[in-house]
């Protein structure tokens, strides 16, 4: 039953050409400072300062626009981006409020105009925030030290893979320990970073309880086991209650255990990685801790570990010395070195610290409770929509902050798929939902995540739109299959972009492939 008044909506359409198609010969968007005559007198012509063999001879095919033309173009493109302008329940990404005050702070020169090589004495502010936030995360995880070098969650998983390497190498066991175990429900970055670091990957499939059995784990753990990399709960809202035993089994075999806390939002203040026996965990500051997504970073995968693994952390490490000031310390000989230059996306660490301080410990508990409650609130209504079922419906316990649903029945009945519905919902101003990571084992999946940001009215509106689109699927399936209709552009033609003759990742390539000059 539709609860909301459905608004009229149409996305802005600017029919905006490519920037390379705009402007005219000789226009300029910036003027450079005039070179002082005394400088020219000393150095002569700048062209002569470049070795002959290295002078650019080819013309640069960049656009030529005035400053306003550039501004207007990118403003138009921002308006042709729906993002969080209305309601986005994009599952696994924990869409939450990104407090504006943080943007105000991180664009101040004392954050933005800082070079990482500056003397520590001039970096005390940034170092203090990093150190304070490290301590807050220690409290939330029970672990002993956090670093922020990883440029995202996947990069933090890569830190784990690298620390696994260095840890076993330091004991002379690396050649023998070359397997990392994960599950089919762990984010793809876990097996992928393990493999990129040189490990063989063993992936345990789900079993009837919604997670792999302890027996399955035992059957693959051996003296070859280097590490276990898992999330819990997974992104269908299922919690593996045997996780402590899992960690014990892997530890007994000599492996390390890494907790991918991508789905921390629902269990904040209830679960601590160290209490479950894990050696390390990762938090995503751009998700759980209020940092903005930026369309895909700059992000931070905060990586924390027990004291046993601290010597392996990537450096430099932020420490407080006895005098009370902060310093950057070399990480030492056992350190994995670097996974990325410098010590992390500092502005996002600042944002996360600020968000966490605004929440306080009780606020974090409230956010977790509200997230899980909101998911269960949504489930009641979503499951009342004909054609939608719950993924793994035989598992009747309450799901945590996400539930994965299936549109399989609706697809069988109408031919309309989950991707069609994902394309249609934005016509009502609703950002497309998350489907599922690979591998898909629930037919026609979709995965909303309510989080703590959105109001009851927002959640209801989202469900109303879903329900309307499901009704459309029955009454006018073509309308849904040909969606979207109210967006800046129509549905893609479905051209095979894996064909080298067809893909074009740059304007140059496109011009050559599609616009042969006659």
């Amino acid at each position: 039953m539709i609860k909301s008044r459905i608004r009229k909506y149409h996305a802005p359409v600017w029919d905006e050409p490519l920037v390379m198609q705009l402007g005219a010969e000789g226009r300029q968007g910036v003027a450079l400072p005039i070179t002082e005559p005394a400088i020219s007198e000393v150095v002569g012509s700048p062209e002569d300062l470049i070795p002959l063999s290295m002078r650019r001879t080819s013309a640069l095919g960049l656009p030529q626009l005035s400053e306003f033309e550039v501004q207007r173009h990118y403003l138009h493109l921002s308006q042709e981006t729906l993002g969080m302008m209305q309601i986005s329940l994009f599952g696994t990404c924990t869409m939450k409020y990104n407090p504006r005050v943080n943007e105000k702070i991180v664009y101040q020169p004392y954050v933005a105009e800082i070079n990482p090589h500056q003397d520590e004495k001039t970096l005390q502010g940034s170092l203090e925030v990093v150190s304070r936030f490290d301590h807050l995360l220690r409290e939330l995880s029970g672990l002993d030290k956090f670093v922020f070098q990883a440029g995202g969650g996947a990069d933090a998983a890569y830190i784990q893979a690298c620390i696994t390497r260095a840890f076993h190498a330091s004991r002379g066991e690396l050649a023998q320990r070359n397997e990392i175990i994960t599950t089919s429900q762990a984010h793809p970055c876990n097996p992928a970073t393990a493999s990129a670091a040189g490990f063989k990957v063993i992936t345990l499939p789900l079993e009837e309880n919604g997670y792999p059995s302890l027996e399955a784990l035992k059957s693959v753990v051996s003296s070859r086991t280097a590490a276990l990399m898992v999330n819990n709960p997974d992104d269908i809202g299922i919690y593996n209650p045997n996780i402590r035993e899992w960690v014990e089994v892997v530890h007994q075999a000599g492996g390390l255990c890494f907790y991918d806390h991508a789905n921390f939002n629902g269990v904040m203040t209830r679960i601590r990685a160290a209490d479950l026996g894990f050696d390390a965990c990762m938090f995503m500051l751009h998700k759980t801790f209020g940092g903005p997504k930026g369309g895909g970073g700059p992000a931070v995968g905060a990586y924390g570990c027990t004291s046993e693994l601290i010597p392996f952390l990537p450096g430099p490490l932020v420490e407080r010395n006895e005098g009370g000031s902060y310093e950057l310390r070399d990480a030492g000989d056992l350190s994995i070195g670097r996974v990325r230059e410098f010590w992390g996306n500092v502005p996002t660490v600042i944002r996360a610290y600020s968000w966490t301080r605004a929440m306080g410990i009780e606020g974090l508990r409230d956010a977790a409770n509200i997230s899980v409650l909101a998911n269960n609130y949504m489930e009641k209504r979503i499951l009342s929509i004909p054609g939608i079922t719950k993924g793994l419906p035989e598992l009747t316990q309450r799901r945590l902050e996400m539930t994965r649903y299936s549109l399989g029945e609706l697809t069988q009945e109408t031919g309309v798929t989950t991707i069609d519905i994902q394309n249609r919902m934005p016509d009502y101003g609703i950002d497309g939902y998350w489907l599922s990571h690979e591998p898909w084992f629930i037919p026609e999946p979709f995965t909303p995540e309510a989080g703590e940001l959105w109001s009851i009215e927002d959640l209801d509106y989202w469900i109303d739109v879903l329900e309307i689109v499901c009704t459309e699927a029955r009454e006018n399936p073509e309308l849904v299959k040909s969606a979207p209709h109210n967006q800046p552009v129509h549905q893609l033609s479905g051209a095979n972009l894996s064909d080298p003759e067809k893909w074009a990742t740059t304007w140059r390539a496109y011009q050559r492939k599609y616009m042969e000059i006659d």
Binding site: S53, Y97, V106, V129, W343, R398
Partner: protein, 472 residues
């Protein structure tokens, strides 16, 4: 220490449903008596029930702003002091429009919408790749990577997958920070996919890669030669063509790293034979952010053998069901870790896609004439500084010609360490160049100075006077 239980929340500005009435309404509809029921999946012995050592919340924005900015104001920024530090993270002017775009809520908060609903952002990404492609002279460009070093690491691994070889040649002049990342990416001998790093010497006379040493080390077992141009020490590798030709003679991939801000005046790597181009994106409209501004890219010719090895995501221009309408879609998604987990090429995830918005804006503002002007400006100012510094008694600039933006200053004759000089410069409100003495002991007490378009003649004269005074 605080003990928390589960109770009805009090309203918080970040959470609509923290209003008690909304919260209770959800409990009612979801048929939940006690909130703890919802956590029935979690065994009791997993739950943390202890006390919390957590500071009091700062729910008031005014209090929060005062607290956080109060801590950060202890920093001294490169606007407070005159800065000559670069070394992988450079101070360029960031046009106001770049900051406007990356703080637009649409770009700032978007995630993964559909190709139609996030069309605008996807177009920006395509314009980012297209303009990078113009600068480096390549047709296939992926979405940005975490950094210059990670781009280099992935590029080496691409080469190794392509020619099935496991040794990479890298000049001694490589940025130590970047080299540390490359080492991580090249792996361990005990495991699969290991790539051995072999160092090529630098000619002490020129600061360039030693071609003869390269000749002696290159063979058919080498997967790639990777060098930066200009190199970390600022020197332009003017024999780049010869390096690339030599690589090709042995079936070796030539990987070249660039600072794109140089490419309005320097030849594009494609012009001298690069196969894979990597580089930094930070100079293109992104603040240093204490190193948090860094980003990288990979670009190649549009050939299938390269395209199939990209670890990144990339957007392609395509069409829609409406005649003549253009749109953007991910291409080669199935070879990414999202598409194929451990069977994909390395891995990808969140990256620095927001910075691509700043980069695209910056490149559009600059255009061909802007890139030329800024290249000239940096050349003129950095050479002026180098010449003036070289005139200071006891200071020397070993490589006085053929450099871009950065140059080495040696202090050996002063019998002072770079650390001492830099400490003294701070009393003049100057951040001196990056101390090289630990990473390049063969250069003695040397520092890497970075001079860009932001430095006026007066700034440079101030530096020269201060250097003269502190090295007396």
């Amino acid at each position: 220490m605080t003990k928390i239980g589960s109770k009805v929340p009090t309203a918080h500005p970040f959470m609509a449903n923290s209003a008690p009435e909304s919260y209770k309404e959800m409990l009612r509809v979801a048929e939940v008596g006690d909130i703890d029921e919802l956590f029935e999946q979690i065994p009791a012995e997993h739950l943390y029930t202890g006390e919390w050592n957590f500071p009091e919340p700062l729910k008031s924005e005014a209090s929060l702003y005062r607290h956080v900015s109060g801590i950060l104001k202890q920093n001294i920024s490169c606007e407070d002091y005159l800065n000559f530090l670069g070394a992988g993270c450079w101070q360029h002017y960031v046009p106001a429009i770049c900051d406007e775009m990356v703080t637009r809520t649409e770009f700032l908060t978007s995630v993964w919408g559909t190709p139609s609903s996030d069309h605008g952002r996807n177009q920006v990404w395509f314009e980012f790749a297209s303009q990078i492609g113009e600068l480096v002279g390549m047709e296939f460009v992926g979405l940005p990577l975490y950094s210059f070093g990670t781009a280099g690491g992935h590029a080496i691994r691409m080469a190794s997958r392509m020619n099935k070889r496991h040794k990479v040649l890298i000049p001694r002049s490589m940025d130590p920070e970047r080299l540390a990342v490359l080492k991580t990416y090249c792996g361990y001998a005990e495991l699969d996919g290991f790539i051995e790093i072999v160092q090529v010497e630098v000619d002490p006379q020129s600061g360039r890669l030693d071609l003869r040493d390269l000749e002696s080390k290159i063979d058919h077992e080498v997967t790639a030669v990777y060098f930066d141009n200009p190199n970390y020490l600022g020197v332009i590798e003017k024999e780049a063509r010869a390096i690339c030709d030599l690589a090709h003679k042995f079936g070796v991939e030539a990987i070249v790293g660039v600072d794109p801000i140089s490419l309005g005046v320097l030849a594009s790597p494609a012009e001298y034979g690069a196969d894979i181009v990597v580089g930094t994106t930070q100079p293109l409209g992104v603040h240093m952010n204490c190193g948090g501004g860094v980003g990288g890219f990979i670009a190649t010719r549009d050939e299938e053998r390269y395209a199939r090895e990209y670890p990144t995501l990339q957007v392609s221009l395509t069409d829609t069901i409406e005649q003549g309408e253009m749109a953007f879609a991910l291409t080669l998604f199935e070879q990414s870790s999202y598409g194929s987990r451990e069977d994909g090429n390395d891995w990808t995830g969140n990256s620095v896609y927001l910075w691509a918005v700043a980069n695209a804006t910056y490149m559009s503002l600059m255009g061909p004439s802007g890139f030329k002007s800024i290249g000239h400006s940096i050349l003129e100012r950095s050479h002026y500084a180098a010449l003036k510094i070289a005139e200071i008694p006891k200071l020397s600039v070993p490589w006085r010609t053929d450099f871009f933006k950065e140059f080495v200053v040696n202090f050996d004759a002063t019998h002072k360490t770079v650390a001492e000089v830099n400490t003294a410069l701070m009393t003049h409100k100057i951040f001196g160049g990056k101390d090289l003495s630990e990473d390049f002991p063969e250069l003695g007490q040397s520092a890497l100075y970075s001079v860009t378009e932001i430095h006026t003649q007066e700034d440079l004269d101030t530096l020269v006077a201060a250097l003269e005074e502190v090295t007396k």
